[in-house]
């Protein structure tokens, strides 16, 4: 009540000040909301990417361990390929298969070479 009286007794801001203030605050509010929304979006997508990556990596690691793919989480394919390692003028060429693994809901892949 005391404050209310105090306001009553004081000279208020001009209409222009209020309009400018509201405009500025609105702009800031929109910015903040946008930033929060973007952050939330990034965090969400990142979590998905992380999980997809882990599932894809699991497909490769299963292959390394000589296990079959866990089809609940990843899709593993392979195709013939050769790998060359050049030691000076000498090349070591190994035939084998490039194994590609991805999360079943994603196109993000890991690749791994397995000699024949």
């Amino acid at each position: 009540m005391k404050n209310f009286k105090s306001i009553k007794n004081k000279k208020g801001m001009t209409l222009v000040e209020i309009i400018v203030s509201v405009a500025i605050l609105s702009i800031i509010a929109v910015f903040i909301i946008t930033v929060f929304a973007s952050s939330n979006n990034i965090i969400g997508n990142n979590a998905i990417l992380k999980r997809n990556g882990e599932n894809a990596a699991a497909g490769i690691e299963n292959k390394m361990a000589g296990l079959g793919a866990d089809t609940d989480i990843s899709i593993v394919g392979q195709q013939d390929a050769s790998v060359t390692v050049t030691f000076g003028t000498n090349s070591v060429v190994t035939s084998g298969k490039i194994v590609a693994s991805s999360d079943k809901n994603s196109t993000e892949k890991y690749y791994y070479f397995v000699p024949n």
């Binding site: 404050n3 801001m13 952050s39 939330n40 990417l49 990556g53 790998v83 060359t84 890991y110």
Partner: protein, 511 residues
């Protein structure tokens, strides 16, 4: 602003402004965190792919090593060098191959994928044959004790005794000796290149071990007994006399007296006592008490199991049960050597040669309750590149009589003549005779005495339960070609545990 707040004019708007500033800062922090997290995930992905690429490169080089390990030139291009390359969608890599020890390589790869670097390295080792002694790697394998059977003799090759062994009368074993019981080497000039014994070892008079000595029991030395290399003893050392030319590692106590001497250093786990003088009198190079003695690993000195190998059945080899046919003093097909065949052989002129022709195929011969003792100076020679198997059944025996040679032609080639018995059969080498063969009769007997026909009484590998050797006979080891024979159940390869040459990844070292 404080002034304005104090004046309380328009302060509500200021409060709102402050809140917005704080909210803005908070939003910036959250946004930054989200961006950093996203970047971290991307880096993590690239690093993971880089690791897979590095392992792929290691896989490639290891595969090459596995396939080319026997090619010294190919290997020399890798070892100590750095290679490089790239794979589509997988980035680039460099690979180094370093030799850590004989039969041990380290293959390391560093891969770069989207600017992120990862490494992978693997230790690649050469496999060794199964631990243990390969029976056919010995000139004599006694599947029992040899406390009296090894009389005066010279054995050029390794010896395995599945029991106690006593060597005396100036005999010499020019190879490594494994004894699964107690060992006694006495008398003048008894030597071995090295000795392992499960039981106590007694060296006396001028008994000598010309290599390292290992015993799970005690070592007792007397007279002028000598160990020309190191001695490792799980038990105690009792040394009233004798010499150890190099170091001695003793698990328990050490006792010295007389003229005993260790030229190297002594390490012992128990107490060291002397009959006279001090320890330094007997061990001038120094003696140290230890608390961390590690017992000898007996596994490398254990033998592979000895299966009983029977003759093929009539179903497996019907020809084996037909009477062997001799044509022009030649046997060129499988068959049974029965009394009628022995009679034919006895009818041959003195000094004749019977040829067993294994040029076209393996020849299997069977002695079934049959004594094979020609006694007419008959030489029996194996020709061809295939094998000849003589199976002994029942009470069969083979006697090589005076002036008879039974073995390979040309002489000196690795024996492809196998004498295999499934029971207590025997092989006897009489005066002035020679046998070149691989004898495998785990419950049988070998006896040899008298002069050789030329240099050696026996050339090859002999595995029996009992030996009776005397008259200073000389045996020479010759490695049988056991691949493709019933003896291929034993791992082939180098002596005493050498063998397989396969390479494999022992471990991945890091990520």
């Amino acid at each position: 602003m404080l002034k304005r707040l104090k004046k309380k004019a328009g302060y509500a708007l200021v409060y709102v402004l402050v809140i917005f500033v704080v909210a803005t800062l908070l939003a910036m922090v959250v946004f930054s965190s989200a961006v950093i997290s996203a970047r971290s995930t991307a880096v993590e992905h690239n690093t993971q792919q880089g690791y897979f690429t590095a392992r792929s490169a290691v896989n490639s080089v290891v595969d090459y090593i596995i396939k080319n390990a026997s090619d010294a030139t190919a290997m020399s291009k890798l070892i100590g060098n750095t290679g490089s390359g790239s794979i589509n969608n997988m980035g680039t890599y460099t690979v180094t191959v370093t030799q850590q020890a004989a039969g041990r390589l380290k293959v390391s790869a560093t891969a770069v994928y989207n600017g992120e670097t990862s490494t992978a390295s693997a230790t690649v080792v050469q496999s060794v044959a199964p631990s243990g002694i390969i029976p056919t790697d010995n000139v004599i394998y006694v599947n029992g004790s040899a406390t009296s059977g090894l009389g005066q003799c010279t054995l050029n090759g390794s010896v395995y005794v599945n029991g106690a062994m006593s060597l005396s009368q100036g005999s010499a074993i020019n190879g490594f000796v494994v004894v699964k019981g107690a060992t006694s080497i006495t008398g003048a000039g008894n030597t071995t290149k090295g000795l392992y014994s499960d039981g106590n070892v007694t060296l006396d008079n001028s008994g000598t071990v010309n290599g390292d000595l290992f015993t799970k029991g005690d070592l007792i030395m007397g007279g002028s007994a000598t160990i020309n290399q190191n001695a490792t003893v799980d038990g105690s050392l009792n040394m009233p006399n004798g010499f150890i030319i190099k170091d001695a590692l003793i698990g328990k106590n050490a006792y010295f007296a007389g003229g005993a001497k260790i030229s190297g250093v002594l390490k012992y786990g128990g107490t060291a006592t002397c009959g006279w003088g001090t320890i330094s009198t007997f061990v001038p190079a120094g003696a140290t008490k230890i608390t961390n003695y590690t017992p000898i690993d007996a596994a490398p000195y254990s033998s592979q199991a000895l299966p009983i190998i029977s003759a093929p059945t009539s179903t497996q080899n019907p020809q084996l049960y037909n009477t062997a046919v001799i044509t022009n003093k030649t046997i060129s097909d499988s068959g049974t050597i029965n009394s009628s065949v022995v009679t034919q052989l006895n009818a041959l002129p003195w000094g004749s040669t019977l040829t067993i022709d294994a040029s076209a195929k393996d020849i299997n011969l069977l002695l079934n309750n049959q004594s094979f003792n020609i006694g007419s100076g008959l030489n029996i020679e194996v020709i061809g590149t295939h094998n000849v198997f003589i199976y002994l059944k029942g009470t069969s025996s083979i006697t090589i009589s005076a002036n008879e040679y039974f073995g390979m032609n040309p002489r000196g080639t690795n024996p492809r003549l196998y004498i295999i018995g499934d029971g207590t059969q025997s092989v006897a080498l009489q005066n002035n005779s020679e046998l070149d063969a691989c004898v495998y009769i785990p419950n049988g007997t070998l006896s040899a005495s008298g002069s050789p026909l030329t240099v050696y009484k026996f050339v090859g590998s002999c595995l029996v339960k009992t030996v009776d050797i005397s008259s200073n006979v000389s045996f020479q080891y010759s490695k049988p070609v056991i691949d493709g024979t019933p003896l291929s159940v034993f791992s082939s390869g180098g002596s005493s545990g050498g063998g397989g040459s396969g390479w494999y990844i022992e471990s991945w070292d890091d990520k």
